[in-house]
């Protein structure tokens, strides 16, 4: 087995070090992008590069805004419970 193959396989057998930090929330962004891309790929009647990118970007931004609102509401609820 070559060194590259061993390195790639090792990457998938050992978990990344991710702590409970605010920056960890950034892992939501690729997930939102994947959801937006697949959803628009199934829903658009005809796929052209410009239209697809535009629609996907709009949906991606909508998801991120909803994420942010949900986070703020949960943060406010948690603050109310603690205080």
């Amino acid at each position: 087995m070559s060194m590259i193959a061993a390195f790639v396989m090792a990457s998938f057998t050992v978990p990344e070090k991710i702590g409970a930090e605010p920056q960890s929330m950034l892992w939501l962004l690729p997930l939102a992008a994947a959801i937006a891309v697949v959803y628009k790929a199934t829903k658009l009647p005809k796929i052209t590069a410009g239209n697809f990118l535009k629609e996907t970007a709009i949906l991606f931004c909508s998801i991120v805004v909803i994420y942010t609102i949900a986070a703020l509401v949960l943060f406010a609820l948690a603050w109310l419970v603690i205080e």
Binding site: P15, I18, G19, L31, A34, V38, I47
Partner: protein
Amino acid sequence: MPRYSKENRVLSLLIVGLLAWLVPGAGHLMLKEKKRAIIIFAAVVLTFCIGLYIGSIGVIDLFGTSAIYVKVAQFMNPPVAVALGYCTDGGAYPVYGWPNEIGQVYTMTSGLLNLLCIVNAVYLAYLCRTEMAGC
């Protein structure tokens, strides 16, 4: 225009659904939707691989103690997830905490996105077979 018997229609829908589960986007490719197929394949496989990279293959827990919704969502991934489930059975690749949770969310989401694509491919095939769409 060729007319299809009911049995042939059901069989073709089953084949499209099975292909779409085996390889993400293959159902759309069979319906000559090449662009959609490429986009779906890239997005679903990339999401699944990111999940495995973050949490390792240990996040695939089809036969372990994970909640049933985790298992069902991960099972919707292509059969490679089932093969990985056998590999990780018995806790050979333990993973805990945030990497486990984020990895599970990614692999579950890729499975559910694949399910969406399966349903969409079968629906498009149904429209084509009943000659309601211009396929």
